[in-house]
């Protein structure tokens, strides 16, 4: 299929845009349950993007990546997160580490930076990768911003997972990127999830709240 | 021919030694007599110091039980150092056998040895007065040695010779003339001489008030022939300083060891200088009182300033002189 359907570029761009929107909305969520569902949407959109890139680049392993992302990130992770929220009855946990307006503005400026950086540096590569790179960089930066602005351990984990999604989006966008990258990203998510699970359980046991203030208090003790 | 000159030099040195060692007590006696006369008292005969020394030598010395083995060493050390210094300073003639040795810094070093020995004698027996005297002597020695060295600079640069003999001959032959820096140097060296020999403004040689004495405090525990040695050392030091000041500042008719004919002229000049000096000293001592111990550093500070001024004016003059 040497020629490319006229639809290829706009659809990929659309899916990327939706993911960016999810990452952006993660910033302003007040409730954990809402964050988990937004993350789930983001994962699903990522799976679609993976399938679509697989179809566009005729690379069969992208389909496999899509399946892995669907199974682990879209299904297992949200279930486990909801179970944790259930066990620690955090449904109503509301925490605002930073005023929402400020975090929104920060988010916008981050996207601006990402675009400013990616566009000139990728002048000579294919426009598709340039667009895709800019979006994935923004998602990564937004994920990091979520991690830095949230006080709750679980919301930080979600920010981390959103960063992973950005990375997978970038990986899919690279034509001919060998399979190794996807597998390792998946591996990362799986093991990270395990580690986080163990953590959250023990955080619960020690600080009887998922809030990080307990942890930060330890740091202040001069050691 | 050179053997004759050396022989004459040795004769001159021996004559110089005999004169200096012989006349030392006489000088002290003369000054004592003059002071008494000025105060309207007849005063002791001029030969009294000889009798004192003879008496002390014949008495058996009483050694304090707390003294260490070096008790007997200090008087000899002080005497030998001062006597060697005396031999270095020309009295009536230049070119003596000890002329090449008579470097001013060696002279100061020998006086320092004598001072060190006296201080250690003071600390020897471990009683209060010796230590206090030694402490004060150390204080005065600091300032006097500093100003003395600065004067050495002035003399060495004017006289172009490091040795006293050389400076004297240059002053005698080269028509140096009266210069401001030499005037300051004279005032400074007189003040230093008074400090070194422990005369009135710094320390009262005749007084026995324990609290005020400096030199005598260090000799408190000595007696018999050791005390005689210390007293004789003090006398030698006085005559050495007289001769030193005389040689540098009024060397005009002093003779040369090579021409025996010039010796009598030199001798006459030397005796005249001694008499004039003792008159001046007696007059000065009668007219002023002893200073408080802690005013002496300021007095000596002024002396040091005078020394530096003499050096500075020397450079200014040398610059103007071209």
């Amino acid at each position: 299929m040497s020629f490319i359907f006229p639809l290829v570029y706009p659809l990929a761009h659309l899916l990327g845009g939706v993911m960016l929107l999810c990452a952006f909305s993660l910033l302003s969520q007040r409730r954990l349950a809402a964050m988990i569902s937004i993350y789930q949407i983001e994962a699903i959109v990522l799976t679609l993007a993976a399938f679509w890139q697989g179809f566009a680049q005729h690379a069969t392993e992208l389909y496999l990546t899509g399946v892995i992302t669907l199974v682990i990130k879209a299904i297992i992770a949200p279930i486990a997160l909801r179970q944790i929220v259930q066990r620690f009855n955090l449904i109503r946990a509301v925490e605002t580490a930073m005023p929402v307006g400020l975090s929104m503005m920060l988010g916008v400026s981050l996207i601006g930076v990402a675009v400013l950086v990616v566009l000139p540096t990728t002048m000579n590569s294919v426009t598709l990768t340039r667009e895709d790179l800019a979006i994935s960089l923004s998602v990564v930066l937004l994920g990091l911003l979520v991690m830095t602005t949230r006080r709750n351990a679980l919301s930080q984990v979600i920010g981390f997972l959103s960063t992973e999604n950005g990375l997978v989006l970038a990986a899919i966008g690279m034509p001919g990127m060998p399979f190794v990258a996807e597998l390792s990203v998946a591996l990362l998510v799986l093991v990270a999830f395990l580690v986080v699970g163990v953590f959250v359980f023990r955080v619960r046991e020690h600080f009887d709240t998922l809030d990080l203030t307990g942890i930060e208090e330890i740091e202040r003790r001069g050691r | 021919m050179s053997f004759l000159i050396v022989f004459l030099a040795i004769i001159a040195t021996l004559l110089h030694a005999a004169l200096m060692f012989g006349a030392a007590p006489l000088l002290i006696g003369l000054i004592g007599k003059l002071r008494a006369r000025l105060l309207g008292r007849p005063g002791p005969p001029v030969t009294q110091p000889y009798r004192d020394l003879k008496k002390l030598i014949r008495k058996t010395p009483l050694i304090p039980d707390t003294a260490t083995q070096l008790y007997q060493l200090w008087p000899f050390a002080a005497f030998v150092a001062t006597a060697t210094a005396t031999l270095l300073v020309p009295s009536f003639t230049f070119g003596m056998a000890t002329a090449p040795l008579s470097d001013l810094i060696t002279f100061i070093g020998l006086l320092a040895v004598a001072r060190g020995a006296t201080m250690l004698a003071g600390l020897e027996t471990g009683f209060g007065f010796g230590g206090a005297g030694a402490g004060r002597d150390a204080l005065f020695s600091i300032f006097s040695e500093a100003s003395l060295l600065v004067l050495v600079l002035a003399f060495a640069l004017i006289g172009h010779h490091p040795t006293i003999d050389g400076i004297g001959t240059t002053f005698r032959d080269g028509h140096i003339g009266i210069s401001v820096s030499l005037g300051f140097a004279l005032a400074a060296i007189l003040a230093v001489a008074l400090t070194e020999t422990g005369r009135i403004p710094v320390d009262n040689p005749a007084g026995h008030l324990e609290l005020a004495m400096v030199h005598e405090a260090m000799l408190l525990e000595y007696s018999g022939r050791y005390l005689a040695l210390f007293h004789y050392t003090a006398m030698l030091r006085l005559i050495t300083w007289f001769s030193l000041v005389g040689t540098i500042f009024c060397p005009f008719f002093m003779g040369d060891s090579a021409l025996p004919l010039s010796w009598p002229g030199g001798l006459l000049l030397w005796v005249g200088k001694l008499i004039a000096g003792s008159i001046a000293l007696a007059l000065f001592e009668v007219s002023t009182a002893k200073m408080r111990v802690f005013r002496v550093p300021e007095y000596l500070g002024v002396t040091m300033l005078l020394g530096i001024l003499s050096g500075v004016f020397l450079f200014v003059a040398a610059r103007l002189g071209g």
Binding site: - | T60, T98, V113, E221, F294
Partner: protein
Amino acid sequence: MNNILTLPIGLPGQGMHLTCDPLSALFLCILAPQALATSIGPDRKSPTFWTFILGMVLTVVAADAFTLILGFELMSAASWLLVLRGDRRPATLYAGIAIFAGACLVPALFLPAGGIAFGLILFGAGAKAGLAPLHAWLPRAHPAPSAGVSALMSGGMVKVALYVIIRYGFVVMGGQIQPWWGAALIVAGVASVLIGALRAMLETELKTILACSTVEHVGLIAVGLGIALRARTLNDPSLASLALQAALLCAIAHGLFKPLLFIGAGAVKHGTGTTSLDWLGGLMRGMPRLGGLMLAGCAGMAALPLGPGFVPEFLLLHAVIASAGTGDIIARIGFTAVLGILGLSAALALAAAVRIIGIGFLGRPRTLRAAAAEEAGRTTLVSMGILAALCVPVALAPGLLLLLLQPVIAMLVPGAVPLPLGYEPFPLLLLAACVTAAAFLLLRKFGARGEREVPAWNGGFGKPPAWLPFGNPATQATATGFAEPIQRAIGIAILGRNSLDPGEVFILEPLRRLNLRFTRAAERIRRATIRQRLAFVFAALVMFLLALGLTQGQ
């Protein structure tokens, strides 16, 4: 003589190069007697002691920069460990100065020969030698280790530091000497002389006094070197060689009598358990031979004629007088002031020497331990004897020594013509002998025979009570009492009310306060929480990206 010996070990691929030219040979001769004397004592068993000596020897015979710095720092490291084993408190300050010296020297050896390089060498080697601005550590660190080690530190290590200044000042950067080098060395030297002599007079601890006197002698050597450097810029080789003779002779003489005194101080500490002068007194009775040797050492320290210390002082004063005759008006006035200070310090040194002997060894014992002190051990006396024996040729045959120094001076000052020495000790000794003989004969003929032992006169005070066999020791001069007039006259002016060393007040204290401030700042950073750290990393990343975006944009 200067063939290069290459060792396989050293910088990977380049190895180490050693050579022994006249200058190195001279400094080896300075180190050899001290090493021999101190190794007779109890220190020979500790391997660190031998590493210390190896470090010094390596520095002196080094031919390339790496070996010199290796030896220099090895010497510092070994002596730091010995100081640490002695007394822990000054160890860190000592290590700090040692590392600072290394940190200054390494760049200096690689910079092109010129003003900055020499300035760094002056700071580095000067700090290690105890030159004026950075000398406050020496009186605290040198007394810490055992006697033999502090003898080697004061006698040897200080000289190795000065060797580095000579090697780089005269030989390596010989061509590019600038006039301010000499002036800097002279100013630093004079300041060290004044502060060293004054503190030697005011301290009460025997080893600290000796350390301060080391600072003074380093100052004297530095003044000599400074005058030589200045003379070379004015291309006056005779003055330069005179000043160099003074400096090198002072290094040799100091390298002999200072270790002698330190080993003696160690013996005093071993015998009486303390080296504080206010606890000693009357040791001459219990330790006569040690007292005699200490007296010889103190004669050297006080630069008295017929002693080892006089010839360098004599030459140095003549060098200052000669240089006061040259240069512009400010230089001449400066040299006059230098001469005044040298005179003042010579008198202070004499007073300090008198104080050590008078308060420490003469007089009545102030404590029972001082009263019951036995003679020092045989090994101590043998090592001190060796050093004293070596002092004799330096004292009585300086002309011969200057002859031996001729190749070194010819190497350092090209075109130097040897000068006749104005001070011959032998005729002086002859005169003194005649006078002594005359006095002895006179006293024997006229004087009375025999002596009588009586309780001291003490100005008429009564006999001391029975329970104080030696009388009340409190009634004799103490070390502080002896120095009190000088402390009131000059001490307050220079060292301030509570006699703190200016090097300590103006350099070490501000550095400690600065360090404290930065440490508190670092502690605030360390207590940042995870989110603050993440925010900082994130901000740094965004900043980098922004910068990249802007620069790549054009």
